[in-house]
Symmetry: C2
Subunit: 280 residues, 2 copies
């Protein structure tokens, strides 16, 4: 029962958390297997990756992609609050590829970011806590949320360096799919969008995300349907249209197949879960 | 690759979040499909569930189990910060059954709890935020962590009312498995522990958790092995013993089968992910 009632949700797991102070900085072409998220509490850093030079200052986050060599230099002292992290959903879709956060992002509320980071650092250092991993994971997810929110409000400056040509293609596909949830989309159209053979695209996409582009489209349509069932009183026929699922009968069939419950029963269940038992 | 590098992780999704004020309280035999977590900011509540009467006061959390009717009464006014939530891992194992938090728990740091709750409530009311679900989910997980931590430090007063006889048995099994990760355990021993036929136990356990007790045991052994590989320099032979996997060769085989990587390569990968690039 449970599986289908949860939205994807991001699984977030840091592999390093530290607060580093330095008198000056000169690290060259270093590589990590995961994302490095480094908040410049204080400093003026020149960073290089993929032949591009950028600068980061106090209150900004530097983001380094996995497997991509980067350098950081500074003549003056400073300190960074940084962590290394894996963040992906059930399909192995990486959070920071789905949302291509830029290499340097100004954090909207640095005080809050620091507060949450320092709580995570304390939990990281405490090897004994029985629920340590739960605390770390929730705080780390909150930090990534602050990063994404700041990136969003700053105009979504995209990364200039996707890790590979395929990642770029997948990015195009996922953005397109998200924008077309209420429209008819064919497998061939999606393949054409990235100039690939449909069979080959299905194969490499599924290798990475464990489902084909069309399966992802169906998942996202159903997810939108669940949202609309929970949050609106729209009739099924209109929900079907808004989710690109034609008519209510088709929505009913697909929904029941995937969620083991009818849309009507799902809505009733959501209503029950959502009642205010104090009244008002 | 990704799948096996993530620990279970809890997927947390609230279906209602509210701050309720009342002049007096008289709710009778109400039922929710999910867990109700209600923090008494101010009040004196008499609660009933399963024929047992308890009292909750300011600074305490009342926890109501799914599908179990409960009542709350108060002659005086008060206010509660409450939410309804599903929290489970990949195997559909519910967080609040795995850890049978009592019906009334005193929160250690109510100020912090309130701060996080109010941030979640604000996010809940903001229907527009692009990363709203991520913010809500991380904050809700943090609140559940505070609840679990307070329960732990308060001596783990267990729930007196498991939802069903099988839940009680599963609880016994899971506790036993967690305590015996370094020992030999057989399928028959586990079945005996709860006075059941091994085949029948496998079936009903897997219906609920999508794996049998022995498969869960193997998962948890491997999880412990990963932790030891990451955090210690112990030789493989000792890790194998501590994880109840006999010798290094057996650990090697099981690990490679499940994680698609050898223990040695996993340790190297963890070391890389964990390096401090600022030195020190």
């Amino acid at each position: 029962m449970t599986g289908n009632f949860f939205e994807g949700g991001w699984r977030v797991r840091p592999s390093a958390v530290a607060h580093a102070y330095y008198p000056s900085l000169d690290i060259q072409n270093i590589v990590y297997p995961h994302w490095v998220v480094s908040f410049v509490t204080d400093g003026e850093v020149e960073l290089q990756a993929g032949g591009v030079t950028r600068h980061a200052f106090s209150g900004q986050v530097m983001l380094h992609a996995p497997h991509l060599p980067f350098s950081e230099r500074s003549d003056r002292g400073g300190n960074h609050r940084w962590f290394v992290v894996e963040a992906a959903n059930d399909h192995g879709m990486e959070l920071l590829r789905l949302y291509p956060v830029g290499e340097v992002t100004t954090i909207m509320d640095p005080g809050k970011y620091i507060q949450v980071f320092d709580q995570m650092l304390a939990a990281w250092g405490d090897k004994e806590g029985a629920f340590r991993e739960m605390e770390i994971s929730s705080l780390c997810q909150l930090l990534l949320f602050y990063l994404l929110q700041s990136w969003e409000r700053g105009g979504r400056t995209p990364r200039s360096l996707p890790a590979s040509k395929n990642d770029k293609r997948f990015q195009v596909l996922i953005t397109h799919i998200n924008a077309k949830l209420d429209e008819k989309v064919s497998r061939e159209q999606l393949a054409e969008l990235v100039h690939m053979n449909p069979n080959y695209l299905d194969r490499i996409f599924a290798e990475k995300f464990r489902l084909t582009p069309m399966q992802l489209l169906r998942e996202l349509r159903l997810r939108k349907a669940r949202r609309l069932l929970e949050q609106t009183e729209l009739p099924l026929s209109q929900i079907a249209v808004q989710c690109g699922m034609g008519d209510a009968a088709y929505l009913n069939r697909q929904f029941a197949k995937s969620c083991s419950i009818t849309p009507g029963a799902y809505r009733e269940r959501a209503r029950l879960a959502n009642q205010n038992y104090y009244g008002g």
